[in-house]
């Protein structure tokens, strides 16, 4: 029995309505409890902020495309290394940190749960191999649907229940947590080197449109009672004027959920929030998107904020990456995956004085500041696409301080600055709101009931930051905020101290969450035999060698749900 007492901190626990009150957090055997005995190890958090451990809903940290990015870019790693110690493994950064380094760096930021948001079904075994080697944090991954032949065919035939059962089978076979959709239909087109535009174009060789795919998987998601909504990277990503596709995508599933529950998550919405008709007049569609989100409860979004830095872009949206290669002239990787999806990688540097980059920077922040309900927008950089997760403290300082924003704004492209609404926005986030967009909100969106809060029974994942909210005014002293958030004074994972003053002191193995949605036996049996009939025609792998066994996860944590079908 190990006991821990975090004493006298200013606690921010929005899910339990606690906003910076002085309180003690008692921990026993990895869980938050009412109280502990006098023998408990005491952490003196006097004058510090105490929050639940961070929960990242969207960060590309593991799997085939991430590793392809590592292989593509030795020049990215040599400037940023982690040394081997008796506790920690050696590794490298920078924009695509090696797996061990990823775990340590998240823990240093006070993050304790991370989701890899795009993994090809066929290659999810690879993703899990890397997640197994990502220490400290709990994790999970979202397998890619919506360009896979089975989903498209079931939906095209109008066999929704079979489609849902197939998805349930796949989630079990790949040990996935949620349905990810990337440029539905468009990636199948890209596998022929072609593009789709908007939601109405027919997918080549498949008599179906992106609009039908999105609605279909959204309904399947609900039939399966999956904990998270569908997680959507929209069509037309990075194209000019694409904010309309984003709104169209959100509106496409309006009314599917009933009781005001979110039914769709639009990810890295910054990349799909552009107005304009050409590169020279591109602008921010954030006000329009924020307006839609403010008026409709069925949507959640994450920022996909960019940071001005050299990074590596990577997505299953292979066609977009080709476009970025043509624009930037940088090296380009593409990797299409049979039957299912694609992937592309291009190194990219976001520049302050680049008009489009400056607009992008503005879109992300405008979204976060114009969407009123912090429970429905989350902080991400779509790591490493908009910048690395290690830049979260910088983004938090922009959200909390108008002065910090003005300071950065003064240095961006002036035409872009004049075009953005951002200079006129006064809103500054509170610490509670920061706790929502970085942990409480994301845990809620992922339906991780034991995460994102510090109530009795919660997992004892806690971040302690050396920052006194009664003395520091984040609006003015944003630098102090940034500095404190960069290196947690303490990070506690499952009741064990893993970080002390920004240094790793222990590196345990985190859980891997996956969802098992129980579909009726008859339906599952039927669908399984249908998949088996086509499997060897579709794939170059036998069905029995495709599905993963639970034992392949070092610390498997199955989430059971019962499907409606």
């Amino acid at each position: 029995m190990t006991e821990l007492l975090i004493r006298n901190g200013f606690v921010y626990d929005p899910l339990n309505g606690i906003e910076g009150e002085k309180a003690d957090i008692s921990i026993r055997d990895g869980k938050v409890v009412e109280s502990v005995g006098s023998g408990a190890t005491v952490i003196d958090a006097n004058g510090m902020i105490v929050m639940p451990g961070g929960v990242d809903i969207h960060s590309h940290i593991a799997g085939s495309k991430v590793n392809a990015g590592r292989i593509l870019r030795p020049e990215d790693h040599e400037k940023d290394v982690e040394r081997h110690t008796s506790i920690t493994r050696a590794g490298t950064g920078h924009s695509i940190p090696s797996t061990f380094t990823t775990g340590y760096r998240y823990a240093r930021l006070g993050y304790t749960t991370v989701f890899e948001p795009a993994t090809p079904l066929l290659k999810t075994r690879h993703t899990h191999e890397e997640l197994n080697d990502t220490p400290i944090v709990d994790k999970g991954c979202f397998p890619l649907f919506g360009n896979d032949w089975h989903t498209m065919e079931y939906l095209q035939q109008g066999r929704l229940e079979e489609c849902a059962a197939y998805i349930a089978w796949m989630l079990r076979a790949t040990k996935g947590y949620a349905i990810k959709v990337v440029n539905p239909g468009g990636v199948e087109a890209w596998r022929w080197g072609r593009y789709l535009v908007g939601l109405e174009d027919k997918v080549p060789n498949f008599d179906i449109t992106p609009r039908e795919i999105i609605r279909g998987v959204c309904k399947a998601n609900q039939l399966l009672h999956l904990p998270h909504t569908i997680h959507v990277h929209t069509n037309d990503l990075a194209k000019i004027g694409n904010y309309q596709t984003t709104i169209d995508t959100m509106d496409n599933v309006r009314g599917l959920g009933g009781d005001n529950k979110p039914v769709i998550h639009i990810t890295h919405v910054q990349f799909t929030g552009r107005t304009g008709s050409a590169w020279h007049n591109i602008g921010s569609g954030a006000p329009e998107i924020a307006d839609y989100v403010n008026k409709h409860d069925h949507v959640t979004v994450d920022m996909g904020q960019i940071v001005f830095m050299d990074t590596t872009t990577m997505t299953a949206d292979g066609g977009f990456q080709y476009m970025l290669y043509q624009l930037s002239g940088n090296k380009w990787m593409n990797f299409d995956v049979e039957v299912e999806t694609g992937a592309g990688i291009v190194p990219y540097r976001y520049r302050r004085n680049n008009y489009v980059n400056a607009i992008q920077w503005g879109i992300g922040l405008e979204l976060a500041l114009l969407i009123k309900d912090p429970w429905r927008i989350y902080l991400t950089t779509d790591h490493p696409n908009g910048g690395t997760f290690t830049k979260y403290p910088k983004i938090i300082s922009w959200l909390m301080s108008r002065k910090a924003r003005e300071k950065s704004m003064a240095r961006i492209n002036s035409i872009a600055r004049n075009k953005l609404d951002l200079p006129d926005i006064d809103r500054e986030y509170t610490f509670s709101e920061i706790a929502i967009v970085t942990r409480a909100g994301t845990a809620k969106a992922l339906a991780l009931k034991q995460k994102g809060h510090l109530g009795v029974g919660a997992d004892a994942d806690v971040a302690v930051y050396n920052l006194n909210p009664t003395k520091v005014d984040p609006s003015k002293e944003y630098r102090l905020v940034r500095r404190a958030l960069k290196k947690a004074a303490f990070t506690i994972k499952d009741g064990r101290i893993v970080v002390k003053n920004g240094e790793i002191v222990e590196a345990p193995t985190g859980r891997t969450y996956w969802v098992d949605s129980k579909v009726s036996e008859g339906l599952m049996h039927k669908v399984e035999s249908e998949i088996r009939d086509t499997f060897t025609d579709y794939y170059t792998l036998q069905m029995d060698n495709y599905a993963m066994d639970d034992s392949e996860l070092v610390r498997s944590s199955r989430v059971n749900v019962k499907a409606e079908i």
Partner: protein, 437 residues
């Protein structure tokens, strides 16, 4: 005594990079009797796996290898590695991902160089990828879509016997129902058995791949070829090939060590990768290296996710450093820099330059291998081990990067340990020695 007989379906072949996963192995009385669905190489591997092997660890005493206990062999190995200033850990392509993972951790603890056999086959491919990037796909994409297939400096009929049938010209796909729907071209210095299957064979002068590839690239871009004959190939023929490549719906170049290890090396790859990249402004085209050993791709993947680099990783500074030409196994050994070596599932003595063998003969070498080899003969410690995919399971990566899990089909001989167990035991011992210091 009753004989037990079982037929195991969907067995993954652990020989070449194609890792066919549809073998049917018949096991009788604990021994592999026969195999269906495999090529002649896999038949040989599976049926003869138990021939010529030793079952007890060996250590060198007075210049001779003598049998010893497992514990003694572990202690000796750990001592050698822990006391070495700059050991090299080499091999890793014919064993599991788990072995590579353990090897990397060991390399961190002993401050060594971790390199895999990529260094002598597709090392130049990776250097090319660092420069240019790579447009590729999983093998099923080629099977389903490709109507133009080029093998360049590669002879899969012998190196990857079922490759053409399972994944390319002779396979059946959704959009390509038969061989007639595909054009197959072979570029090589001689008419290989693979070339006999092709619609077109282009014979190229040895060591002139770079010229031909550049000329093709020019032709694809619409530039004029000013010479009549390039690399032994008439200019018109090159232009015809360029036209074929541009006009196909989905093309692929598979290339082998005939491109990576001939004159030009990574520059050949640079231009090949650039050619394919350029082609994507006209049509869909991809390129893929014909990786040799069944898990050489896995050795790269594991190394990349643990260290950031796919091979030739120097951990002597306590963090990963990568400088091919400096931190690559052959270079480290030719320079005589390393003072101990751990060789896993490979035989550098029989296929590295002679200077390497000379140096290896001077330093303590630890070999982990199921079978005796030239390297094991000069070793200080030899661990016999179980065979991945036959006697023990483990994760591997197919040549196109698809992760698979192999399972044992028979039990290993009693007392024999797997690569992973041996490496972990050495690691545990090394940690004790290092923490004690």
């Amino acid at each position: 005594m009753t004989l037990s007989k079982k037929i195991i379906p969907n067995v993954i072949c652990t020989f070449c990079g194609a890792t066919c996963d549809d073998l049917e192995v018949t096991v009788e009385d604990g021994k592999v009797q026969t195999l269906r669905g495999g090529c002649s190489t896999s038949l040989n591997k599976f049926v003869n796996y138990n021939v010529e092997r030793h079952l007890t660890p060996l250590v060198k005493k007075d210049g001779k290898l003598e049998e010893t206990s497992y514990e003694d062999a572990i202690a000796r190995s750990a001592g050698i590695l822990a006391n070495a200033k700059y050991p090299i850990l080499y091999g890793w392509s014919s064993t599991s991902n788990e072995a590579s993972r353990a090897g990397l951790e060991l390399a961190e603890w002993v401050g060594g160089v971790m390199d895999n056999t990529t260094t002598v086959c597709h090392g130049p491919t990776l250097l090319g990828v660092h420069d240019i990037g790579e447009v590729s796909a999983s093998l099923g994409e080629i099977r389903q879509r490709a109507d133009m297939i080029i093998y360049w400096g590669s002879n899969p009929v012998h190196s990857h016997p079922h490759h053409v049938m399972r994944y390319s010209a002779l396979s059946k796909g959704r959009f390509r129902s038969s061989r007639k729907d595909r054009t197959m071209v072979v570029v090589d210095v001689r008419k290989t058995d693979t070339a006999k299957l092709a619609d077109q064979f282009i014979q190229i002068e040895p060591n002139s791949d770079y010229e031909l590839m550049c000329a093709l690239r020019m032709a694809v871009r619409g530039d004029e070829l000013e010479q009549d004959i390039i690399a032994g190939v008439p200019a018109e023929r090159i232009e015809e090939l360029a036209d074929l490549m541009i006009s196909c719906q989905f093309g692929v170049i598979f290339f082998g060590v005939g491109l990576t290890m001939t004159q030009g090396k990574h520059r050949n790859i640079d231009v090949a990768l650039s050619l394919v990249r350029d082609l994507n402004s006209r049509t869909k085209f991809i390129i893929m290296p014909m990786r040799g050993w069944y898990n050489v791709a896995g050795a790269n993947q594991v190394s990349a996710w643990v260290t950031g680099y796919p091979y030739a990783v120097d951990l002597s500074q306590g963090y990963p450093r990568y400088n091919p030409g400096d931190t690559t196994a052959v270079d480290v050994l030719v320079r005589g820099d390393c003072d101990a070596a751990l060789v896993v599932a490979s035989d550098p003595v029989s296929n590295f330059p002679v200077e390497v063998t000379r140096h290896l003969a001077k330093i303590p070498v630890i070999t982990i291998d199921p079978h005796p080899s030239a390297t094991s003969l000069i070793s200080e410690v030899v661990f016999p081990t179980t065979i991945v995919g036959i006697e023990t399971g483990g994760g591997i990566y197919r040549m196109d990067g698809v992760a698979m899990v192999t399972k044992p089909v028979v039990s290993p001989p009693p007392g024999l340990h797997s690569d992973v167990e041996i490496l972990q035991d050495i690691l545990t011992h090394v940690k004790k020695l290092k923490m004690g210091q």
